[in-house]
Every structure is written in C-alpha cells, then in structure tokens.
C-alpha cells in the first residue's frame, strides 16, 4: 500500500510534529489519559469481565469434572469390591449347598440301600418260610398218599393179612428209606 500523500514534499526533516509549534499538547495528554481509562473500564465491563468469567467458569467446570470423575472412580472401586465379595460369598454358599446335597444324597443312598436290603431279606425269609411250609405240606401229602398206596399195593400184592401196627412199621421203614435216598 502506498502512502496517500498527494502534496508537495518538503525536504525539511524536522523531528516530531511537536517541532512545528511550541508548548506541550496538554489537551492530547488529558484526552489520551481519559480515553485510556474509559477504554479500560468499558473493556472490563463488556469484554474482559465476561471473558474472565467464562474462563473461571470453565476452570471450575474442569475442576468439578475432575473431582467428580475421581469420586465416581472411588465409588466404582467400592462397588467392584462389594461385587467381588458378594461373588465370593455366593460361590462359597454354592459350595456349601453342593456339599450338603452330596451328603444328603449319600445318606439317602445308604438309606435306600438299607431299606432295599432289609426288604430283600424279608422277602427271602418269607419265601423260605413258604418253601418250608410247602415242603411240609408236600411231605405230609406224599406221606398220606404213600400210606394208602402202600396199603393198597401191599394188600393187593401180598394179599396177606397184616395188622395195623405191622403196617405202620412197614410204612415208616419205607419212608425212612425214601428219605435217605433223597
């Protein structure tokens, strides 16, 4: 950009505008002073004040955020600790429950086995008894059958008279023989 200087150039290089006149520009000085103070006050009210306010606000905001973050970190840590202990507790509880269940199962098994065993024993006993009875019955039935048969056979084959005493004796001998052979 060029100097806007349409006028005659003089060669007199005089230092300072003040050299053109005598005396001090007290008016300028006072004006400058007043202007500067007014400018400062106005800027404080309209620009720097609000700007400083917002900067302070941001500072506070950041500080608040940091402390909030710190706080929530501590809280999270606490919660984590709590959860961890709860988990541990739950785990040990579950362990106890399983243990109990196992024990319970063992006891029940023992019980069932014992009951089954006694039941089996009982059934065996009763079966034995039954067998014995049946055997007794069968033996007495056979005895009767054999007695009458032998009487019949004897009387028919030998056709000889026998008294009852001899007959009984004879039968018993036969049965004895039959029992020995078994």
């Amino acid at each position: 950009m060029k100097g806007v200087n349409p006028l005659v150039v003089t060669n007199s290089l005089v230092l300072g505008a003040a050299a053109a006149h005598t005396g001090v520009n007290w008016g300028d000085i006072i004006f400058q002073l007043v202007m500067f103070i007014i400018l400062m006050v106005l800027l404080k009210i309209f620009a720097w004040g609000p700007l400083m306010g917002i900067m302070k606000q941001r500072e506070d905001h950041v500080a608040g955020e940091i402390s909030a973050a710190e706080q929530s970190r501590v809280e999270a840590k606490k919660l984590l600790e709590e959860q961890r202990s709860l988990l541990k507790e739950a785990r040990s509880e579950a362990q106890v429950l399983i243990e109990n269940a196992k024990k319970q199962g063992d006891i029940q098994r023992e019980e069932i086995i014992a009951v089954a065993r006694t039941e089996a024993e009982r059934i065996k006993e009763s079966a034995k008894l039954e067998i014995e009875q049946q055997k007794e019955k069968a033996v007495s039935a056979i005895r009767e059958q054999v007695a009458s048969l032998s009487v019949l056979i004897a009387s028919k084959v030998i056709e000889k008279e026998l008294n009852a005493a001899d007959q009984d004796k004879l039968i018993n001998e036969y049965i004895q023989e039959a029992g020995d052979q078994r």
């Binding site: 200087n5 300028d28 202007m35 720097w48």
Partner: protein, 236 residues
C-alpha cells in the same frame, strides 16, 4: 517528512486534532474487536474467543513471570488493555497515512511522544499508587533507601528515567518506522519508475514494522508489569 499538525486551542489547552482522532479510532477498534469477539461466549471457545483467551493467557504469563498472581492478578485487565491498545495503535499508521493540505491526519497515535509519555506516566504513577496501597507508605518509602541510604537520588532519577525510556522507546520505534514509510512513499514514489522501485522496500519495511509494532506492544506490557512488580512485591 514534515507535516503540519492540526492544532486548536480549547479552554487554554492545546489539542492536536489528529491525535484526538487517532486515539479515538484506536480505542474504538480495540473496543469493537474485544466486544465483538467476546459477544458469544461459550464454555467451548470458538474463533475469536480463542484468540482473546490466548491474549489473556499471554498477559497472564507476562504477569506471572514478574510477580505473584495474588499480587499481579489485579493488573490483568490493565495489561490486556495496554497490549491491545498499543498494538492496534502501532498498526494504524502502517497501511497508509492521510495528509490533507499539508496537515497530517492519519498516523499511529503512538508516533507522538505526548501520547506515549502519557501512557508511561500513567503506568509509573500507577506503580507508585499500588506500591503505597499494597505495602503501606512506610515500606514503600523505605524502598527508596535500599540497599544504601545514599542511593536515594539515584532511585529518584530512576523513576523519571523509567518513565522517559518507557514512553520514548515506544515513540521512537513507531515514529521512525512511519518516517521511513512516508519517505519511501512520498520521497521515492514519484512517477512510475520511482513507484516500482519503492514498492519492494516499502513491502519489506511494512512487514518489519508489523514485527516492531508487535514487539513494542509486548515490551511495553512487559515493562509495565516489571515496574509494577518492583513497587508491589516485597522480595525485591
């Protein structure tokens, strides 16, 4: 280049209307820039709000490098306003200057020693005010006799020297830059050949002036905080 200054006398005070104009323009630009960029503030900053927050942090770092934040926090707004105002002022004279009937109207307000020395005096005055206010008159007064009592005159001279150098450094840098710009523009750019010849150095010098203007506004803000820290902090 020498141009007339539009001076009027009002209520017995001399007013340079060009200065009045440029001070007003610079203040208006700073104000609009700041207000427009902070009009829609959000927790998640966007666009210009980011830039303004960067400026704030930048000044905050300057303050923190010179004093405790608990002492220096109150100078934050002063620092931001200073750095913005001086930067904008330095930039104003760069793109062009306006001369009407031999009278210079558009320039950097900081290219006038009255303006820069006013700012410097304001800063040094504030440093004394806060020195008394924050440390008490006793501690403030004793500071002038440290480390030895005979340093007192030197300390007094130092205060004036501080004021002068703070103001004149800024003035000198900016005024010299503008002088060279107007030399290039007006002295060289006469006719087509001269204009072409002036274009490149003009470009280079304007770029350099942007750099100088930015650096000077930073230095002014930095020294402001250093002087304030000198008076305000007790460990000096």
């Amino acid at each position: 280049m020498h141009h007339e200054a539009p001076i009027v006398t009002f209520l017995g005070l001399q007013f340079n209307l060009a200065n009045i104009l440029m001070i007003t323009v610079a203040s208006a630009i700073v104000f609009l820039l700041a207000v427009l960029s902070t009009r829609r503030l959000a927790m998640k900053p966007t666009g210009m709000q980011n830039f303004m927050e960067w400026v704030m942090d930048f000044v905050k770092n300057i303050i923190n490098s010179t004093m405790d934040w608990k002492d220096g926090g109150r100078f934050h707004i002063l620092g931001i306003t200073i750095i913005m105002y001086i930067f904008v002022s330095n930039m104003l004279g760069l793109p062009f200057s306006v001369v009407v009937d031999g009278t210079l109207w558009w320039k950097s307000p900081t290219a006038d020693p009255a303006v820069t020395l006013t700012l410097a005096t304001l800063i040094v005055g504030l440093s004394h005010f806060y020195g008394v206010k924050m440390r008490g008159a006793g501690a403030y007064g004793r500071e002038f006799f440290k480390p030895f009592w005979f340093m007192f005159p030197i300390k007094i001279i130092e205060e004036f020297a501080n004021t002068l150098t703070l103001g004149l450094r800024l003035y000198g840098n900016i005024y010299a830059g503008e002088i060279l710009l107007s030399l290039l523009a007006a002295g060289l750019a006469t006719g087509v050949g001269g204009t072409l010849a002036a274009a490149l150095p003009m470009l280079v010098w304007q770029g350099f002036s942007v750099f100088v203007g930015a650096i000077q506004s930073f230095i002014f803000c930095m020294l402001t905080m250093v002087y304030l820290a000198h008076k305000v902090s007790s460990d000096h």
